[in-house]
C-alpha cells in the first residue's frame, strides 16, 4: 500500500531539492544541473503513473491477450519530455559558455547587469 505512493513521494522530494538547488546556486553550470534534477522529478512522476505491479512491456506481438502491461502512453510522454528538455539544457549550457567568454564569470551574482 505504502509502496504505491513511494513514486509520488520521491517525485515531490526531487522536485523540491531541484528548486532549492536553483534558488541557492552560486554557479550557472550548477544551476542548470539543478534544473535537470528538477526535471528528473517529472520522469519519476510519469513512471509512477504509468507503472503497474506485475505489468510487462506493452508489446503485444508475443504476449497473450489479457496480460497485464504498463501504460504505453507514458513512455511517449517521457520521450517527448526528454527531447524537449535536452534542447533547453543544451541551449542553457551554451549560454553559460558564452557568458564565461564575454563576462568572464559563471556566478549569477557577478553577472547581474540587469536589475531594478
Amino acid at each position: 500500500m505504502l509502496l504505491n505512493y513511494l513514486g509520488y513521494a520521491v517525485a515531490a522530494w526531487v522536485f523540491l531539492w531541484g528548486l532549492y538547488g536553483i534558488v541557492t546556486s552560486k554557479n550557472l553550470v550548477h544551476q542548470v544541473v539543478c534544473l535537470a534534477i528538477l526535471q528528473t522529478s517529472t520522469y519519476v512522476l510519469l513512471l509512477a503513473i504509468g507503472f503497474k505491479t506485475g505489468g510487462t512491456a506493452p508489446i503485444f506481438a508475443d504476449i497473450p491477450v489479457g496480460t497485464v502491461v504498463v501504460d504505453p502512453l507514458m513512455q511517449a510522454l517521457m520521450l517527448t519530455d526528454v527531447v524537449v528538455e535536452a534542447t533547453v539544457m543544451a541551449l542553457l549550457l551554451s549560454m553559460v559558455v558564452k557568458a564565461n567568454e564575454v563576462a568572464g564569470t559563471v556566478d549569477p551574482e557577478e553577472l547581474r547587469i540587469l536589475m531594478g
Binding site: A11, V23, L38, L46, V88, M95, L114
Partner: protein
C-alpha cells in the same frame, strides 16, 4: 468552402520554411532569406485569415491521421479544435511576425545567427498553441515557443546583458514548464486522457478533490509564469530589455497573452465543470492576482528610464488587466479580453518597433542619455504619442472596446473596484511612455534622472547611425499602431467577440463538438451596450496620463508640489530591489507564489 485542408498548414508551412532557411541560409544570401521569411509569414497571415473566416460561425475540429473518436469511444488521437478565439490569436501572431520580419530587413547583417528560421519556428509554435485541442500537444507547442524565444532573446551573444536576460528567462520559464508537465501527468493519472474535451468529460461535474486541485494549481502557475503575472513576472523585464526589438514585438504582443489564453482554455474545457461550485472563489483569487499585477506593473513602469524595460513593465501591467478579463469567468469579459489582447498586441508591437527605430537612429535606448536627441524624428514621435494614448485606451482604439466589456461585466458582478485598477494601470503606463517621448523627441524639461537599469546600454542593432528612418522600419510600426485603431472598424466586433466567448466557455457543447462530431449552434447576437461611460472614463485616464507626464517633465519649472512625480520616478526602491536580476531569486518568488496560491486553493476550493 471547406477549410479542413488548410488547418495544419499554419504550423507545417513555417516549420518547413524554417528548416530550409536554417539549412540553405548561408548559401542563398541575406536578402533571399529575408524575402523567403517574409513571404512565409505573409502566407501564414493569409492562411490564418482564411481559417478565422472558416471557423467564425462554426468551430472546426481536425483529427491528425484521421484518428477521430468512434461513436461511444474515447479520443485517442490528437486534434486541432479551432474556434474564433484561437484563430484570432493565431492571426495576431502572424500579423506581428510579418511586421517584425519586415522591420528586421535593415538589421542583423549576417545570416549566421539564424534569426529568420527562429522567428518562423516561433510563429509556427504560437499558431499550434492557439489551435490545439490536446493537453500534451499544448505543452509541446509551449516548449517549442519557449525554446525559440530563449534563443531569440539571447541572439546577441557578444554582450553579457542579453545572455543574462535570456538565461533568467529560460530558467524561470522552464521551471514553469515542468510544473505544467506534472499537472498534465496528474490529470492523465485521474482520467486516462489528454484531449481537453475527453479530460473535461471524464472529470465531469464531480467536485474537485485534492489531486485535481493540485493539477489545476500546477497548470495554472505554469501558464501564468509565461503570462508574466506578479509574482511570476520577474523574467519578463530582463528578457525584454535585451531582446532585439522585433523579437520584443512577439514577446509582448502575443506570447505573454497566449499564457493567459492557455489558462482560460484549460479552465473552460477541463476544470469548468468540476470547479463550478467554487467559481466565485476562483474568480476572487484570480482577480486579486490580476489587480496586484496591474498595480505593480504600473508603478514599476513609471520608475523605468530604459525605453524597452519601460515598455516591458507596461506589458506586465496590461497582462494584469487581461487576466482580469479571464478571471471574471463570464463570456462578456472573455470577449473583452480577446479584443483587448488583439488591440494591445498591435499597439505594443508598434511601440516596440518605435523603440527599435530610436535605437537605430540614435544608437542609445536610455531616456536619460537621449534627452532632446530625437528632435526631427517627427513620425516616430507621433507614433509614440499615439501609441501611448492607445495604452490609455481612449476613443478610437480597440483597447477601449475590450476594456468597456470587461468593466461592464465586472460591474454586473459587483466588482466595480476593478475600474479603478484599470484607470491606475492605464494612467501610469501611458504617462511613462508620454514622459519618455516628451523628453526624447521634444527635449522638454530637464534630462531624466539616471537609474540602475538605464545604465545598461544596448549595442545598436545596426552598424552606422542613419540620418533618416528607413521606410522598412517606419512602415510596419505605423501599420501596427493604425491596425490597433482600425480593429474598431470591424462590424459588430463586440457582439461577435462575446458570441465567440459564449462558445468558448460552453464546456458541454465543446466536448460534444470534439468527441461526438456534433455541429455547434452559434448563439444569438448579443446586444452591446453604449460606450458612453467607458469613453468618459478612458478620456479621464488619458488626460490624467498627459498631466502626469507633463508634471514629471516640467516639475522644476512649475511648482514644488509636483515633486511627488520625482518620487514616482525614482522611488519605490524596495519594489525595484525585488527585481534583482538573479535567477535564483526569481525562482524563489515563483515557489513562494505557487505556495500562496496553493494555500488559497486548499483553503477556499475544497
Amino acid at each position: 468552402m471547406s477549410i479542413t485542408g488548410f488547418i495544419p498548414l499554419p504550423v507545417a508551412v513555417p516549420l518547413m520554411a524554417a528548416a530550409f532557411l536554417a539549412f540553405a541560409g548561408r548559401w542563398i544570401g541575406r536578402r533571399a532569406c529575408d524575402l523567403l521569411a517574409i513571404a512565409t509569414a505573409g502566407c501564414n497571415l493569409a492562411l490564418a485569415i482564411v481559417i478565422l473566416r472558416g471557423v467564425w460561425a462554426q468551430p472546426q475540429v481536425y483529427w491528425f491521421g484521421n484518428w477521430w473518436p468512434r461513436p461511444g469511444g474515447v479520443a485517442l488521437g490528437i486534434c486541432f479544435s479551432i474556434d474564433a478565439i484561437g484563430a484570432a490569436f493565431a492571426l495576431l501572431a502572424s500579423v506581428l511576425t510579418t511586421a517584425a520580419l519586415v522591420f528586421s530587413w535593415k538589421i542583423f547583417e549576417d545570416t549566421e545567427n539564424h534569426f529568420q528560421p527562429l522567428m518562423l519556428i516561433f510563429m509556427a509554435a504560437m499558431c499550434g498553441f492557439s489551435y490545439t485541442g490536446d493537453l500534451f500537444n499544448l505543452f509541446v507547442f509551449f516548449e517549442l515557443m519557449s525554446v525559440s524565444a530563449f534563443a531569440l532573446c539571447g541572439l546577441k551573444t557578444l554582450e553579457p546583458a542579453p545572455l543574462q536576460g535570456a538565461f533568467n528567462f529560460a530558467i524561470v520559464n522552464t521551471v514553469g514548464a515542468f510544473m505544467i508537465v506534472m499537472g498534465i501527468g496528474l490529470l492523465y493519472a485521474r482520467t486516462g486522457a489528454l484531449n481537453f474535451a475527453q479530460v473535461g468529460r471524464s472529470l465531469g461535474n464531480t467536485p474537485a478533490d485534492a489531486l485535481v486541485l493540485l493539477a489545476f494549481l500546477l497548470i495554472t502557475v505554469g501558464y501564468l509564469t509565461k503570462a508574466a503575472i506578479v509574482p511570476f513576472h520577474f523574467w519578463l523585464a530582463d528578457a525584454h530589455a535585451v531582446a532585439p526589438s522585433p523579437v520584443c514585438v512577439l514577446f509582448s504582443g502575443v506570447m505573454v497573452e497566449l499564457g493567459i489564453y492557455a489558462v482560460a482554455r484549460v479552465y473552460w474545457t477541463i476544470f469548468g465543470g468540476t470547479l463550478a461550485a467554487h467559481a466565485v472563489e476562483v474568480r476572487e483569487i484570480l482577480l486579486i492576482l490580476a489587480a496586484l499585477c496591474a498595480v505593480v506593473g504600473g508603478l514599476m513602469c513609471y520608475t523605468e528610464h530604459h525605453l524597452k524595460r519601460l515598455l516591458a513593465f507596461s506589458t506586465i501591467s496590461h497582462a494584469g488587466l487581461m487576466l482580469a478579463g479571464v478571471a471574471l469567468l463570464t463570456s462578456k469579459a472573455l470577449g473583452g479580453f480577446v479584443i483587448y489582447v488583439l488591440s494591445h498586441g498591435l499597439i505594443k508591437g508598434g511601440l516596440f518597433l518605435c523603440a527599435g527605430i530610436v535605437l537605430h537612429r540614435l544608437q542609445k535606448i536610455g531616456e536619460n542619455h537621449l534627452h532632446g536627441c530625437g528632435c526631427g524624428m517627427w513620425w516616430t514621435a507621433a507614433l509614440f504619442i499615439v501609441g501611448a494614448f492607445g495604452l490609455a485606451g481612449i476613443l478610437p482604439f480597440g483597447t477601449l472596446l475590450g476594456e468597456s466589456m470587461i468593466s461592464e461585466s465586472a460591474a454586473q458582478l459587483r466588482q466595480s473596484w476593478l475600474e479603478y485598477v484599470f484607470i491606475f494601470a492605464e494612467v501610469f503606463t501611458a504617462a511613462a511612455v508620454l514622459r519618455a517621448s516628451f523628453r526624447i523627441f521634444f527635449g522638454w524639461g530637464d534630462p531624466a534622472p539616471t537609474d540602475e537599469s538605464s545604465r545598461v546600454e544596448e549595442k545598436p542593432e545596426t552598424e552606422a547611425p542613419r540620418q533618416r528612418t528607413p521606410v522598412a522600419m517606419l512602415l510596419p510600426a505605423a501599420a501596427l499602431v493604425l491596425l490597433g485603431i482600425a480593429i474598431c472598424a470591424v462590424p459588430q466586433l463586440r457582439g461577435s467577440a462575446e458570441n465567440a466567448a459564449k462558445l468558448f466557455i460552453d464546456q458541454p457543447s465543446y466536448s460534444r463538438m470534439v468527441l461526438d462530431n456534433a455541429a455547434i449552434v452559434a448563439p444569438a447576437h448579443a446586444v452591446s451596450e453604449s460606450l458612453t461611460s467607458s469613453i468618459a472614463r478612458s478620456s479621464i485616464a488619458g488626460v490624467l496620463a498627459a498631466l502626469l507626464a507633463l508634471g514629471s517633465v516640467f516639475r522644476k519649472k512649475l511648482s514644488p508640489t509636483l515633486n511627488f512625480t520625482r518620487r514616482l520616478e525614482l522611488g519605490n526602491t524596495w519594489l525595484r530591489g525585488l527585481h534583482s536580476g538573479h535567477p535564483g531569486d526569481y525562482v524563489a518568488w515563483l515557489s513562494f507564489g505557487t505556495a500562496c496560491l496553493g494555500g488559497l486553493f486548499a483553503w477556499l476550493l475544497r
